[in-house]
């Protein structure tokens, strides 16, 4: 089958499914190898960007999903009442960032860094589907290990955990602050 035809089938699949769809599922549908599919989609992502298409293909770990572009938000919102999502509290976000960089991590380690109890924050994050229990640490008390989910990546527009902004050394961030002043 022609490459162009394959790409158009993939686009149709992404559109129909709506939710993130895994590479392996696409591969089994169009009967191609996973790495071929990945290559095709990477090309599509570039083509979509190059042609300034109104939709883009987002990568989340091993899945792909269609979405609009954030810069079009101001126009899209005229269609309906503004999208309202309750953003995370500072406590929850702080906890989330520690989990994101340190996963798998146990609660007491998070609390040691933040200097406060984190039960409530962790509960919120789990409720929101941003954090899951990964298992238990084989240690006294078998504490729960926490990690982030694919929804976390999606919420923050990350392809994978490697794309997290680097945790800056404190000295660097101090320089940045000085520059801002």
């Amino acid at each position: 089958m022609e490459k162009r035809e394959l790409k158009s089938i993939i686009e149709a699949l992404l559109f129909t499914w709506g939710d993130p769809i895994e590479i392996k599922d696409i591969a089994s549908i169009i009967e191609k190898k996973e790495n071929e599919v990945e290559e095709l989609i990477e090309e599509m992502i570039n083509e979509f960007d190059y042609n300034r298409r109104g939709i883009r293909i987002m990568k989340i770990n091993n899945s792909y999903q269609l979405s609009t572009r954030p810069e079009h938000y101001d126009w899209i919102k005229k269609l309906s009442s503004p999208k309202y999502t309750k953003s995370l509290s500072n406590a929850a976000l702080e906890t989330l960032s520690i989990i994101a960089y340190r996963q798998p991590v146990i609660k007491s380690d998070i609390e040691a860094i933040r200097g406060v109890r984190c039960d409530k924050a962790i509960e919120t994050l789990i409720e929101r589907g941003l954090v899951v229990e990964l298992g238990r640490l084989e240690r006294v008390g078998r504490p729960i290990l926490y990690g982030t989910t694919d929804l976390f990546l999606k919420t923050f527009g990350l392809e994978s955990l490697e794309q997290l902004p680097p945790l800056e050394d404190f000295n660097n961030s101090l320089d940045n602050i000085d520059l801002e002043k």
């Binding site: 709506g18 572009r69 999208k83 200097g115 923050f156 945790l167 050394d169 404190f170």
Partner: protein, 243 residues
């Protein structure tokens, strides 16, 4: 005037401490512990005045600061040949600084994450097509008659009966033989006869619970010293006589 100051809300003692250090524009690696401790405690007092709940975390931090402060006041020990003592000469602030630096890293990244989240929240996704329902809608109600309906109903009933058996609700037997009833029966019979055998009390089709209840009545009556029970040999019948 001070009473009207709205104080910032901090995520915890670390957050407050960082704020104080930033405000004083001091090097985090060389904290003037006395000054910061005073400011920290002053803040706690403000919280008290505003009737804010001071969590134990804040108190622990205040105590830590005071401990460090007092350690700093102590004269530095002179270096001894002993290496172990050198260990103790580490700056008392070191542990706190290490924690603050660590916390600051995450606090900084938190701002970045919030920014990323706000960009990503401006994105729309398309809901998944309801593919399954589309297929289910396709069945047509043609070429059916009342027999088919009956068959379908029967199938459901059969399935249901099977399920009911699987369920196996355990019956709870109503106690037919109460202790009181058996005790009074034994007493009655002993009034008529001098001696009765335990086996006489039971019928051929006595249930387990019946046997147990009779046996318990006998034990009860022995306890009340109303009867006397003997057994001619092991496992033989119980011979019951009135005392």
């Amino acid at each position: 005037m001070e009473y009207k100051i709205m104080i910032d809300v901090f995520e915890g003692p670390m957050d407050l401490l960082l704020h104080l250090i930033d405000r004083a524009e001091i090097d985090i690696y060389d904290i003037p512990i006395s000054l910061i401790t005073d400011q920290f405690i002053e803040y706690l007092h403000k919280m008290e005045e505003l009737n804010l709940e001071i969590t134990s975390d804040f108190l622990v931090m205040a105590a830590t600061l005071l401990e460090i402060k007092s350690k700093m006041l102590l004269p530095q020990r002179e270096k001894l040949e002993n290496n172990q003592l050198e260990m103790e000469e580490v700056d008392p602030r070191a542990e706190l600084v290490r924690k603050l630096v660590e916390y600051k890293k995450y606090k900084h990244i938190t701002d970045k994450l919030r920014e990323m989240e706000s960009i990503q929240s401006k994105v729309y996704y398309k809901p998944k097509e309801d593919i399954i329902d589309t297929f289910n809608d396709d069945f047509e109600l043609v070429d059916l008659n009342i027999d088919d309906l009956l068959k379908a109903l029967n199938n459901i009933i059969i399935r249901r009966n099977k399920k009911a058996k699987v369920l196996d609700v355990r019956e709870i037997q109503r106690e037919e033989y109460t202790l009181e009833k058996c005790v009074s029966e034994i007493k009655e019979r002993l009034n008529r006869e001098n001696t009765i055998y335990f086996s006489d009390l039971l019928k051929e089709d006595s249930t387990k619970s019946e046997i147990i209840t009779y046996f318990l009545s006998i034990l009860e009556l022995i306890n009340l010293k109303y009867i006397h029970v003997v057994q001619e040999e092991d496992f033989s019948d119980l011979i019951i006589t009135k005392k």
